[in-house]
């Protein structure tokens, strides 16, 4: 008896050992012994893999605390039936992949998400399709997680009935890569996040911002595309942001910006493309930014520079076919413009050094006029206005005389 007990003990220890390293698995399905994900989760041992066969599962809120792999086969659909959260993860080393998650419930009290990671670490969520949820993927107080290759879409029409696609709060070392997000309130939302990476995501048709982050230091954003979002991208109250190779496109509207930067400092904005936005880049209270080698094409206003921004360097950018290249509300200038290419530049290069011999002053008189007098917009590009512009160019009076590119490039810069 004692021996038997001993051998059981040994076997179960061995079993533990094996599940950890040899992937014991449970399969959930309509015709299987286990038909509910919840049951599989509660019976699984740490390190187990749970396979879920295709079908519709509606089991209320599924909470996962142990390190398991949850793998959907042929995208089984898990529904929140419009009233609850679907997966809640509170642990470490948890993976969710291959699911179709729908209808996490809209609530004015709880931030119901399709997948919520709360106080978790080393988790990954990849290759899922999230449809019509309140929040998509929600991270709170989590670290070292990866959110990758998910498709997150919703069809909300009102901001108040809509959560964010990927919502990250109080987290650190998060990688968000190659997700596609549309139709949410904010596509990607960051608040109090540190040292995180947002790469190659596509965020479009969201009700508010394609990307919205605040108080999030030392994060990097690269290769993302943000287009047709109602208010573009907003970045506020943050230091050490690195934004490069992103595309900001077709963000139309009076309050829509390619990027709105508010109280940002010591950051880099390199090699991004801003095309056909009402306002491409808006700077308010921004200091020591390096805005370099970006392409601004066909925007209403390429750079809107507010008076309280200082010591920013705007270097080596292309300004092509924008209605207004730079607008400002100040007669002063404490920022550096240099070596940019301006398609509006009409100077010459006699010494053949590829830089124009006379400085280019990109602020137009008419942009200043319509700033205060919107109906005057109907006179845009009128011959009369062109004559005024010419006079203003020669004798600056209402545009900032010292806001000038002293070394305008004669040629388009290949960024």
């Amino acid at each position: 008896m004692n021996k038997i007990f001993e051998s059981i003990l040994v076997f179960s220890l061995l079993g533990l050992f094996l599940t950890d390293y040899n992937c014991a698995s449970i399969t959930v399905g309509k015709n299987r012994a286990v038909t509910k994900i919840k049951d599989a989760v509660s019976s699984a041992l740490p390190g187990d893999t749970i396979f879920v066969e295709s079908g519709l599962y509606a089991e209320g809120n599924i909470i996962i605390r142990k390190p398991i792999y949850l793998i959907g086969l042929n995208f089984p659909e898990v529904s929140g039936e419009g009233n609850n959260e679907i997966f809640t993860i509170k642990g470490k080393n948890i993976t969710i992949t291959g699911f179709k998650l729908s209808n996490a419930g809209i609530s004015f009290i709880d931030d119901n998400a399709a997948i919520k990671l709360d106080s978790s670490n080393h988790c990954s969520v990849y290759g899922n399709v999230l449809t019509n949820n309140f929040f998509g993927i929600y991270l709170a107080r989590s670290t070292d997680c990866v959110i990758k290759n998910n498709t997150i879409e919703a069809f909300h029409s009102k901001e108040s009935f809509s959560g964010n696609g990927i919502h990250v709060w109080y987290s650190k070392n998060i990688l968000i890569e190659s997700n596609t997000i549309s139709g949410h309130r904010d596509g990607i939302y960051f608040e109090f996040v540190e040292s995180s990476n947002i790469k190659r995501n596509v965020s479009f048709n969201n009700l508010r911002y394609g990307l919205h982050f605040m108080f999030s230091d030392s994060c990097s954003y690269s290769g993302n595309a943000f287009y047709n979002n109602n208010a573009g991208v907003a970045v506020m109250y943050t230091k050490n942001v690195d934004m490069h190779n992103n595309t900001f496109e077709k963000n139309y509207g009076g309050a829509a910006y390619g990027i709105l930067l508010k109280e940002i400092s010591d950051s880099k904005i390199h090699k991004n493309t801003f095309a056909n936005n009402s306002s491409a880049l808006y700077l308010e209270g921004c200091n020591r930014l390096e805005i370099k080698n970006n392409n601004f094409t066909g925007n209403g206003r390429a750079i809107r520079l507010m008076a309280n921004s200082m010591d920013n360097k705007i270097i080596g950018n292309n300004f092509i076919g924008n209605t207004f290249d730079v607008t400002t509300n100040s007669l002063q200038n404490f920022n550096l413009f240099e070596s940019n290419y301006w398609s509006d530049y009409s100077g010459y290069d006699l010494n053949k050094d590829n830089y124009g011999d006379i400085p280019h002053r990109p602020v137009k008189l008419f942009s200043t006029v319509i700033e205060k007098n919107k109906p005057a917009l109907i006179l845009m590009r009128s011959f009369f206005v062109e004559i005024l512009e010419l006079a203003e160019k020669i004798f600056p009076s209402i545009t900032p005389e010292f806001l000038a590119d002293s070394k305008p490039s004669m040629r388009k810069i290949s960024n």
């Binding site: 209403g300 206003r301 092509i320 005057a376 109907i378 006179l379």
Partner: protein, 263 residues
Amino acid sequence: MKVLSKIVKYQLQDAFRSRWLAAYTLFLIVFSYGLISLTGDSSKVVLSLMNLVITIVPLISIVFGTVYIYNSRDYIVFMLSQPIDRKILFLGVYLGMCISLAAAFITGIILPILFYANYFVNNLADIFIVLISGIFETIIFIGLSFYIAIKNDNKLKGFGISIFCWLFFTVIFDGILLMILQQFQDYPLEKVSLLIISINPIDLARIWITLSYDISSLMGYTSAVIKDIYGTGWGSFITILLLTVWALWPLLLGLRNFNRKDM
């Protein structure tokens, strides 16, 4: 109708062999070709072509029209001694002038664009609007010039009125409007200014082209009023309608005056 087409054909035979029309066409070709090859940027080219449409095209049309009527006085008198209806003769001369100048305009713009066709695939709609409005400006300002030249027997006076007319619509009108808008900044003048702008054929063309081109900026700035009225298919429809009215009324007035005139 048969007589009319005969006269138009005859007018065109004359115009297409004339030096002034060749010079105008050549100028347009050189201008647009130069624009495209120098800037190499299709969107900027559209804007420069727009400036052509709202300045040079009306100027040339009104000057050529005025000069033509004054120089053809003897010819017109002779033709009226023939069994021709006055209206038919007037229409024939008018259509001949419109067709030849419009043809010069289209050729002068299209040829260089075809030469650089691959540049413009994304701007076809803009180019089309530029062409249509250029044709309208040609017709409108020829109509005005005929009316002015027929109404005034004094060449110098007629010529002066023509030039002033051009200056008024291209520059003075907008200057006055800007003054009004600045003066009454505190009032909601959006609708009023739209109404005012609609009575200037040059502003109509400018807004039409600008709206198709600067859509991103205008979406940001404009109130719903401009967007709703001009930023849609309706806008194009209304613009074409107003431009048509503008093409017709100087023609009809000119026709009426010509019909009564002692030659």
